[in-house]
Structures are given as C-alpha cells and as structure tokens.
C-alpha cells in the first residue's frame, strides 16, 4: 500500500529537517518542501484516476463541459494555494501564506461566478 511509504517518507524527512535545522535552518525548510512535493507526486496517479472517473461520470450524466472544467479548476487552484500557503507558513512567514490563500479564494470566486449565473438563469426560467 502506498500510504505506508508516504507516512515513512513524511516521518523520515521531518526528522532530517529537525537535525539539519540546528546547522542550516533554510535547508531544513527546503527538505520539508521536497518531502511535500514527493508525497504529492505519489498521490498524483490516484488523482489522475479520480479525475478521469469524474469526467466520465459527468459526461454520462450530461453535465456540460464548462461546468465540469470550472469545478476542476477550482479544485486545482485550491490544491496549489493550500500547498504554497502551508510552505510559506512552514518557513515562518504567516502573512505571505495568508495572502496566498486569500488570492486563491478570490480566484476561486471568479471562476465560480459563471456557474452561479447559470444556476440563477435556470431558476428564473423555471419560475417565470
């Protein structure tokens, strides 16, 4: 199972980051960033599987493409902003991390607006 490898990698790199922290704090942060990247890469192929299944289901259910692509975009933006915000907080820069997550929220809002207007159009058609 991959999860065992992921947990082992996380623990080992946490310990390495701690040992190197006393000599070189910046290299310790780079170790934790590289561990995060490796773990995300191990999860990536599961993610590809999930995304393909979601796209197939949505095609069968007749959901139009714009809606699905905006949903995937929102997930991707959330994924990236969470990753970089946590790295920034790890490096001790809480304010930059919060700015990144705030920017991510704004971008997600902008991507979600057309979906919102589509829903409202459908509702108004039904009511009128």
């Amino acid at each position: 199972m991959d999860i065992l490898k992921i947990c082992a990698i996380g623990l080992i790199s946490a310990i390495f980051a701690l040992t190197v922290k006393q000599y070189k704090p910046e290299v310790a942060i780079l170790i934790s960033v590289s561990a995060a990247v490796i773990i995300l890469f191990m999860v990536a192929d599961y993610l590809v599987e999930a995304v393909t299944v979601i796209t197939q289901l949505s095609e069968r259910a007749g959901v139009d493409d714009a809606l699905l692509s905006s949903i995937l975009k929102i997930i991707g933006v959330g994924y990236l902003t969470e990753f970089s915000a946590s790295v920034c907080e790890d490096a001790g820069n809480k304010s930059i991390g919060e700015k990144i997550s705030f920017a991510g929220k704004v971008i997600i809002l902008v991507v979600a607006l057309p979906v919102l207007s589509a829903v409202i159009d459908i509702i108004s058609e039904m009511l009128l």
Binding site: I9, I12, S13, F16, T19, V20, Y23, K24, E26, V27, A28, L30, I31, V33, S34, A35, V37, I38, L40, F41, M42, A44, L47, V48, V51, S69, L72, K73, I75, G76, V77, Y79, L80
Partner: protein
C-alpha cells in the same frame, strides 16, 4: 521522484555546515560564507526543479491554463 532526493538535500546541508565550520576555524571567513551560499544554491536549484515539475503535472491534470 524518489526518496533519495531528501537524503541528498540533507547531506548537502550538513556538508556545507561542516565545511563552513572548518573554513571558519582556519580563519577564512569569506570562503565559509561562499561555500554555505553555494550549497544553498545547489539545494535551491534541486527543490525549484521539483516544484516546477509538480506545478506542471497539476496544471495539466486540472487543465488550469
């Protein structure tokens, strides 16, 4: 994307720290700062390359263009 990258980065970090100490002891302080900087740049290049690859895969996965 295997685990040995983490060990390489840790090794480089410790190596630069040790060489910095040695150079400081033999009163060559400017060399010490240079070696620490060089080690940091090498590690930074490796990590930036990994992060770039990760962002490319996520971009292609979620079609985030």
């Amino acid at each position: 994307m295997s685990v040995d990258v983490i060990f390489k980065i840790a090794a480089i970090g410790i190596l630069t720290a040790v060489t910095g100490q040695i150079l400081k002891k033999s009163d060559r302080d400017e060399m010490a700062t240079l070696t620490t900087l060089a080690g940091l740049v090498v590690v930074l290049m490796m990590v930036i390359d990994m992060i770039g690859r990760l962002f490319d895969t996520i971009k292609s996965l979620f079609s985030l263009y």
